[in-house]
């Protein structure tokens, strides 16, 4: 009757109390119950901060995209390299991700929530027990981490889970391993194209091969910076992105004509911070990536000459352009440029230079082919063919149109001998939530029971136990 039903518990030999799987990323944080096929809760890792009535207020979740607040600034507790920088806020964001949709907020004392007027002496005593309850008191928690997560950060993570959230059992798994589990493989070369990072993780029998782990910052945010660089150079005029919140209405204009929109202004003391604008510009850019940007599918680079003798760029030029309209009504057809903005993921020379950009120009070693080469160079020769036959592509930015085709061509060029086989789920959700889905599978396996670090073990051995148990 309802195809969205989660997989039956029987299929997974699931547990009665389903574990919570938390997959924190740079751009989004995913959380859901183990055994389900998609995370129930998907929130931005970004959070908003503003002042109201002299108090600092925090905004979590999708609300930051919808409601501008006075002088709101946007922050991210996770650093550009995917490692947590602000632990206090990371804890809050993560907690929001599962309390908002899964476990509910801690049951605050209803007699104190301001709705009820009850004299203090009448407050029932049994409520106090509930107040002690922690947000995850009855759910085991499986969390994911990047393969290069330092030991300090891992210990801090288990500390939060055990002490702040009171989880009875905990496990920390590498997201590369989980992504390979999600495609049903115990050994794979996982190529994860995220927002702030791209990473190559060789996984063998469910363990990462540490020496082969490579990562570089050429993720979705880098592509955004390339698109911005393109907009700056755009002719007939540079394009500025004006997010929807700054526009009260727009008028239809012809392609390439200056926009005619009614703008909204906010008083200087109330206008949201530049970081808020950047966040919302990013949303327009994601739409642009979805609708316009395309990866030159190969074979060969965009700058190379094709088999027919015509240059690839000429070929790309002859394909129909794709129109895009900006929030202010400006619209334009994007031709070959839409290939250029992503070309530097593969070919560093094609990067669109932008000296003003805060994002440093990429180096050759950061491109995907080089990373793969370096990664495979770090693993045993014997298992290389096996890894190449099991390339798993995951991460939201890998959904760029034509990405897997190009990757396939690049891999075949790099490694002409062994059979290269890419497995990339066609389903958008499976691609975006690869590591979460792997975690969901892992945590619901009956055999996973002995892997959990229980509260008791944590109390006995301290936070360091995570290093021993979660390899």
């Amino acid at each position: 009757m309802n195809p969205s039903n989660p997989p039956q518990a029987a299929e997974y030999g699931g547990d009665e109390v389903s574990a919570i799987v938390l997959d924190p990323g740079y751009s989004t944080t995913r959380a859901g119950f183990a055994g389900e096929d998609a995370p129930k809760s998907l929130i931005p890792t970004y959070y908003g901060k503003y002042n109201a009535d002299g108090q600092e207020k925090l905004v979590f979740g999708d609300d930051i995209f919808v409601t501008p607040r006075p002088a709101m600034s946007i922050h991210n507790p996770i650093g550009k390299d995917g490692i947590v920088e602000d632990w206090d806020m990371a804890e809050k964001v993560w907690e929001y991700s599962f309390t908002s949709r899964l476990t509910g907020t801690k049951p605050g004392n209803p007699f104190l929530n301001g709705l009820n007027d009850i004299p203090a002496e009448e407050l029932p005593t049994e409520m106090e027990v509930e107040l002690e309850e922690k947000s995850l008191a009855d759910s085991p928690l499986l969390m994911t981490e990047p393969a290069w997560n330092p030991a300090k950060a891992r210990e801090k993570t288990i500390e939060i889970a055990m002490e702040k959230w009171g989880t009875p059992a905990f496990y920390l798994a590498r997201n590369g391993v989980l992504a390979s589990f999600a495609s049903g493989k115990a050994s794979a070369l996982v190529i994860d194209i995220g927002a702030s990072n791209i990473s190559i993780t060789p996984v063998h029998d469910g363990m990462i091969l540490k020496r082969g782990v490579q990562h570089s910052p050429l993720g979705g945010d880098y592509i955004s910076s390339q698109i911005r660089a393109l907009f700056k150079k755009n002719s007939p005029q540079p394009i500025t992105i004006t997010p929807h919140y700054l526009i009260s209405s727009k008028t239809a204009v012809e392609a390439g004509q200056p926009p005619q929109a009614k703008y909204r202004t906010y008083p200087a003391d109330k206008a949201p911070d530049a970081s808020y604008r950047a966040l919302l510009e990013e949303r327009t850019l994601s739409e642009f990536k979805e609708c316009v940007v395309q990866v030159w599918p190969g074979p060969n680079k965009l700058s190379a000459t094709g088999p027919t003798g015509a240059s690839n760029e000429e070929m790309a030029r002859s394909t129909p352009g794709r129109p895009f309209e900006f929030p202010d009504g400006y619209n334009q057809v994007f031709g070959v440029d839409r290939f250029r903005v992503v070309e530097s993921l593969f070919d560093v020379k094609a990067a669109i230079p932008d000296p003003d950009s805060p994002v440093p120009a990429p180096t050759q070693a950061q491109t995907i082919p080089e990373l793969i080469k370096a990664s495979l160079g770090g693993v045993d020769v014997d298992i290389r063919p096996h890894l190449l036959a099991n390339v798993v592509v995951t991460g939201g930015s890998s959904l760029l149109y034509g990405f897997t085709d190009r990757l396939n061509h690049e891999l075949m060029q790099l490694f002409p001998g062994p059979r290269v086989r890419i497995s990339a789920p066609g389903n958008t959700a499976e691609r975006r939530f690869g590591s979460w889905i792997g975690g969901s599978i892992l945590a619901s396996l009956g055999t996973f029971h002995q892997m959990w670090i229980s509260k008791k073990e944590y109390d006995e051995h301290g936070a360091n136990i995570v290093e021993k148990r979660c390899k």
Partner: protein, 711 residues
Amino acid sequence: MGKRPKLKVTGKKKPKTTQKESPRKDSPEKTSPQKGTQREEPPVFLARRRSNMPPFKDEHILLIAPGSQMTLAQLGLPETFTPARFRFPTRMFPGQKMGEYEPYRIRERHQTVNTSNGNGAQTTDPPKTDVEMKDAESAGQDGTGNNEPTEKTEKPAGDSADATDKTEAQPETFYEEDVTSDEGAVYPIVNGRIVHWPSFYALLTHVYNALSPPFHTPILMIGQPVWTARDREMITQFVFEKFKVPAFNIMDSALATMWGYGVPTALIVDIGKTKADVTAVTDFIPNEHGRGIAMKGCGGDAMTDRLVELLGPKGFTREMCEQLKRSNIAEILAPGTPLPGAAATAHQGTNPAAAASTGGQSGNDLVPRGPGEGTQTGTDTNGGEDEGVLDVAAIVSGDTTEYLAKIEKEKTTKKGGAEPKQKNAPNHQKEKATFQFEEFVPLDDDNAPASGSRRYIRHTREIEVGAERFLLATPLLKVKKRLTNGILEDLATQIHRTILAVPDATKRSELWDSLIIVGCGSRVRGFAQALLGVITQKYILSPSATIFTSEIPSAFSTPLPTGGTNTPAPMGQPGPMYHPAAHGVNPLLVAATHNNPPMAGATPGTPGMDPNMSAHHRSTGHSQTPNSVKCLRLPDYFPEFKHEGNRNAPGASHGPSATQGGHGAEEATFLGAQMAGRVIFVNDQGATKGFMTRVDYNENGPSAIHEFALA
């Protein structure tokens, strides 16, 4: 639950029934067991039934839809679906014992009184109908039903017929019902979220007991999107363990709306009391990601707040603003419509005549009385008063219908004379308009029987407002936490975000064309239209004129959007709300032409491209959206669920609890609940695991609800 006052059936003459009896007595009228038995028994899937459970029947299905303001409930599915038969305010009052909750506010009074020793001596019946029983009204009385609100006198029970037989004086603690305030009330649901579990459970128990279903009654609950997985488990546990139901399920409210509309893919905007939910449903699956859940400040209350802000300085109370919002003169005008007498609006002071008029009951002096009958002339004040206060004695002793008819006649003639000449002008051209304000006024006259219980009457008067009545969706000035331009813009932003978050890009265009706006907050006149207007202004893409004029091959006749008559027109006023530039352009055509190279002369339909390249091209659907935006219309199969049904008919709002009467398309969620109830419990009988049985519960515990929940 300790002592619970009985429900009072709306009709005055109706003999008092005990709480348990009343719904049972009423229910046969609609669920009619005779008819029920004639109905063909649905096929029973014995193989899939996990226990030897007898099949469920239409008349034994309990639907409960809790909301922040009202909890809708119904036992049994009628032949043709109707709006919910019972409405319970979602609030409870702390009971005598700590931790217990009563559905009504009960006040203690210590005094020596003549108590009636009849039935229910200790409690008085609520003068306010807390539970609306449509059956009782429609069947019970003709002339005194809900349709003539002004004539209805709500009498406390203490003085009804049986109370008069034997009375004796005794010092006693007297409990009386307090209708005028809901002071001390506990609201279990705030912003859709269950914030207070004990009172929520008490509410469920109250609803269950009031409807008193037989044992073999499955329950279908409509769940708020904001409820977490754990919330659903707690409810499941409570329902199975407290009510011992044979089967239970929770259905997401957005999904229920879809069932009501009978469409697989739509974007649902549910405007509640203080929050709104925006959900994209594709192929009957709500998209959890990017869903706008319990958006604060986007409910109907936001509009009331705005009215209070505008009219508060003129002496309007919140209750007045609330009723103004519900009246048919409050309207959200389409963007760009000039306000009538716009220049005067800003400085419009209180009507001097109204300010001068101090006639009226005590307690009302501060309130400006509109220049209705009451202020026509100084001497007429009493006339206006008489209109509200009915001579109770006359009703009790004499023939009710006759008496009320007489009053009504008098009133209409009087009103006819006072009616302004602008009568026929459309609302949005009138600078001022009046609405009927109803309130409960304590009746302090001398001839009140010394029963100790206070009497209230429903008092109606007319209040005039200026152009403020068109400004209810404009942004609040006071709210410091937001910078947005009112609730329509917040909703539009959320809709945009929700649709863009739908992973299946090919569905987005369809979603924009299938907006469903439900929830009582959307009943304000012009709401849907204005929301479409905001979306059009901000988000509709302009199909670049160059592309269209040059690229439409002449072989293509410009098709009408999805073909003429079948086009679902937007709610409310006629005339589809397209972007001018997009008018008459098929979205598919837009997509197709957008894919064509501006220079290459392509053959129609096939985007001209190198054959090698074709594999690398996106499907034509994957373009930017929206090219158009439309509202879906509720199918006409259920005449009771009409758009703009009889709502806003003069006097459709009934006093402070004014949620009776005139429920229509905005309650499509409940219509869907009834359909779902029939399909999953009666037709399907669990063949596709459409509900959780007691056996499932016993085996797997409350968390198994997620395997069944329709969400």
